[in-house]
């Protein structure tokens, strides 16, 4: 921040008042130190760092609109007859929860808008959590020291799912009742404990009369409190670790390059809150969401075509739709694989993998160092490919959950779609993995090519001898640094099973497992250009010097192990007016 120091203007009335207030507060709370510390905190600048903020702000919108809704919603399953402006429900018997939702929508001024803001904000909340998680995953931001914060974020996502499910079940309409019936079915599919869990949840046989009040407490008290606490922890850890930064000249694992919180990010983030609120309000004002008056009050005997959960639960619905009706009977107990697999086992596998990924990757790399510079996704081909394969499986399940709409809108047979997705659930991720890995490796080769030969200029020069060459423009120092700054990742080498005297080494087996995993991760790789390769390419302008460079690099690596690990000269000047802080 290089603001030019101008002679201070004479204090106006406003500034004097502000200074006096600040001084009053500081003398009594000592808040000045904290403000000073926070205001000067440096954050790196990138649009993708705002994805998590969308989640935070949509949560604030959820709290505001949710508070409004609690003033009018009656969480009760008492049966009443509705009389109101909505003709299609006039005189219909329904629970008080549903009747109050109708009143809140049609009779409370601004009620429908608030309900729609709340529901759209919930969809945006989950969508932004997922995109934020993708950003963190694909850039490797979960690596040490942020593994625990990944877990906190993961828990927040699960809590978001529960908040959404408990929330859209509250109006007690047909659609949400269908969802609860599925939840009941999944609970019952759990061997031995199933019926007990179901009866405990519903206070007796489904649907009972106790569920809505229970869900209400969970939805407005328990889950929001947990989410708030964990958001606090999540942000606290961001401050403690300091934010990660994308690779670039001047950025290392030991510093943070960016702008101070005050005034830059206070303005940007504060403004962004209003942008998020505005987008949600715009959607709520123009697009219907969850029209419960279409579905009608819950009746266990009714289900309508197109009954699906909100998008973030759709993958579970997809699993259920894909699973063949397998079940078997042991003694007098039925084991419902048709529900157990898609309802418990598939989400179990997906979520466990996601939660444990930082630890799986740390095991494969054996890397115990801190990482604050993010990976470019191409430089971690296995991770990137795995992430894309994971998303592909998720997408296939989401689409399978929408199979009836795909059938009607594209004039296809629902049976063919189901079979296609059954196959794709296994084949799709494998293909996606292979393609993504190839793309990553190709991009890395492209980077090498650029560093070694420079940009093509399209200028052809003919020598006196008759030889033609194309002139290549070398990369500038910043461009080059971006492409050579990362470390090569190689499969781990481990110590032998027995020492020189033939005594078996403790911990060999776990090391062997680590080596196998590491080989899976890093066997296929393209390494960044080394200074020697670069020098060879620049001085000789040909490829013939390269084999020699391979040997030099080994020395380079071992020599540099203690100090800087950068394999190419780093540009001296940092760009623009950004500030730098040590970690």
């Amino acid at each position: 921040m290089s603001t030019v120091d101008s002679p201070p203007a004479p204090p106006t009335r406003t500034t004097r008042a502000a200074a006096a207030t600040a001084d009053y507060l500081d003398q009594r709370t000592g808040v000045g130190n904290a403000v000073k510390e926070f205001a000067r905190k440096i954050f790196p600048d990138h649009w993708s760092f705002l994805l998590g903020e969308i989640a935070l702000y949509s949560f604030v919108v959820l709290l505001i609109s949710g508070t409004f809704l609690t003033m009018f919603f009656v969480p009760s399953m008492t049966e009443v007859h509705y009389h109101g402006p909505w003709a299609a429900m006039d005189g219909v018997q329904m629970s008080e929860a549903f009747a109050s939702t109708l009143r809140l929508s049609f009779e409370v001024r601004g009620g429908l808008l608030m309900r729609q803001i709340h529901h759209w904000a919930a969809l945006i909340f989950m969508a932004s959590i997922v995109t934020h998680m993708m950003r963190v995953f694909f850039t490797g931001a979960f690596r040490k020291p942020r593994e625990l914060n990944w877990l906190v974020g993961f828990t927040l996502m699960i809590l978001g799912l529960l908040a959404g499910f408990s929330g859209y079940s509250l109006p007690d309409d047909v659609l949400s009742g269908n969802g609860l019936r599925i939840a009941d079915g999944v609970a019952r599919a759990i061997p031995i404990l199933g019926s007990y869990i179901s009866f405990a949840l519903f206070g007796g046989e489904f649907p009972g009369t106790e569920l809505i009040p229970r869900l209400f407490t969970v939805h407005i008290l328990l889950i929001p409190a947990l989410i708030l606490a964990l958001i606090g922890l999540h942000l606290l850890m961001v401050v403690l670790h300091k934010h990660t930064q994308y690779p670039g000249s001047g950025r290392t694992d030991k510093n943070v390059v960016g702008y101070p919180l005050f005034p830059v990010y206070v303005a940007k983030a504060g403004g962004f809150f209003f942008v998020v609120f505005a987008v949600i309000a715009l959607m709520a004002a123009t697009m219907t969401i969850n029209p419960v008056w279409n579905y009608g009050p819950f009746d266990p005997g009714v289900v309508s075509a197109g009954a699906q959960p909100d998008w973030y639960m759709l993958f579970l619905e997809g699993g259920l739709r894909l699973m063949p009706g397998w079940e078997f009977v042991i003694g007098e107990y039925t084991v419902s694989m048709n529900i157990l697999v898609p309802g418990v086992i598939i989400p179990g596998i997906l979520f466990t993998t996601l939660a444990l990924w930082p630890f799986i990757e740390a095991f494969a790399t054996g890397d115990k160092r801190e990482h604050h510079v993010l990976d470019r996704p191409r430089n971690a081909p296995f991770r990137t490919a795995f992430g894309v394969a994971f998303l592909t499986a998720f997408m296939v399940l989401v689409l399978a959950g929408s199979n009836d709409l795909i059938a009607t809108h594209f004039h296809l047979s629902i049976n063919d779609i189901t079979w296609t997705f059954r196959v794709l659930l296994f084949v799709g991720p494998a293909i996606a993995f292979w393609i993504t890995k190839r793309i990553c490796l190709s991009l890395q080769r492209k980077d090498r090519e650029l560093v070694l030969h420079g940009h093509e200029t399209g200028r052809i020069v003919r020598f006196a001898s008759g030889e033609y060459i194309e002139v290549h423009k070398p990369l500038d120092a910043h461009e080059r640094w971006l492409r050579v700054q990362h470390e090569p990742r190689r499969p781990l080498e481990i110590e032998p099973a027995e020492d020189s005297r033939g005594v078996r080494r403790k911990g060999y087996r776990i090391d062997a497992a680590r080596r196998r995993l590491s080989k899976v991760f890093y066997e296929d790789r393209v390494e960044p250009v080394t200074p020697a390769e670069l020098a060879a390419a620049q001085s000789h302008g040909g490829h013939d010097a390269l084999p020699l460079a391979q040997e030099e690099r080994h020395e380079e690596l071992t020599a540099g192990a203690s100090g800087s690990r950068h394999l190419a000269p780093e540009p001296e000047d940092t760009e623009g007016t950004q500030g730098t802080q040590r970690r």
């Binding site: 003709a87 932004s128 987008v279 219907t288 969850n290 075509a305 709409l405 009607t408």
Partner: protein, 267 residues
């Protein structure tokens, strides 16, 4: 009596008795049969029936046979069911929605632009109705949405119809490429006729199952849906899938756009 007693062992006596019994049964059935069955017949004149027959033979006989007796599909060729007794309502629905004459074979006959004038459709209906008793085209009053009870219609619709046609009649998928069509543009008369005749995969909801008044309630409920959604754009009334799609496309789309803008904004 003596003459009767003398001839009762006559060898043609059983045949005469059988004929008399048949005549009696026919006569009783003619009196006892549902009145609606010949309502259209009564309205249709002889000339309508004759004109309808001509239209039928020119446009329908290829599949349904020259006397509407139906034809087996041979070697993948055209074939169609017998139309004797399907009634005028079935003709008015099938031809009036453009499903008939059928364009092509498939999982289900598709609706397309109507091929005949209402006058011709009425003649065809008169002809088919003359072949055998069947449900008649409902009257204006029977299908008038303003005379129905939308709330009762809602209850009936979601119990009987929503599992295929979606909660507000936006349509849904059936097995093997068949589907339950959206009802947004279907006229009240066609909705009534569909319930009465059960076209294609749809079951028949006869007057004992859903009474004529209840049918009108259902029509009233569907009519309610045409005023648009109080919440704004209906997004096709397709439920959470389309909501989720728009949340990603519009919501996350705009917000990522805003993020890029804020991120690119020089500090």
């Amino acid at each position: 009596m003596k003459a009767l007693a003398a001839r009762r062992h006559h060898r043609s006596a059983p045949v005469v008795l059988l004929l008399l019994a048949l005549l009696l049964t026919g006569a009783v059935y003619a009196i006892a049969q549902p009145a609606s069955a010949d309502a259209a017949q009564a309205a249709a004149s002889e000339s309508d029936v004759a004109a309808g027959q001509k239209l039928f033979q020119a446009n329908c006989a290829t599949c349904h046979g020259v006397s509407a007796e139906g034809r087996e599909a041979v070697d993948g060729g055209a074939g169609g069911p017998s139309l004797i007794g399907v009634g005028a309502a079935a003709v008015d629905f099938q031809v009036g929605t453009g499903r008939m004459p059928a364009q092509m074979n498939g999982a289900q006959i598709q609706a397309k632009p109507v091929q005949f004038t209402q006058d011709d459709i009425n003649k065809l209906a008169a002809y088919v109705a003359s072949l055998g008793a069947g449900p008649a085209i409902p009257t204006e009053e029977q299908v008038d949405p303003s005379k129905g009870d939308a709330a009762n219609g809602m209850a009936l619709f979601r119990t009987n119809c929503a599992m295929c046609h979606n909660a507000v009649g936006a349509g849904g998928a059936l097995s093997q490429g068949k589907w339950a069509p959206a009802l947004d543009d279907t006229t009240p008369t066609h909705i009534y006729e569909a319930m009465l005749t059960g076209p294609q995969s749809m079951p028949v909801f006869n007057d004992a199952n859903i009474t004529p008044d209840e049918k009108r309630d259902i029509i009233a409920y569907l009519d309610e849906q045409r005023d648009g959604s109080p919440g704004g754009l209906s997004l096709g009334s397709l439920g959470p899938v389309s909501e989720g799609l728009w949340a990603w496309v519009v919501g996350i789309g705009l917000l990522i756009g805003a993020s890029v803008w804020i991120g690119a904004k020089s500090s």
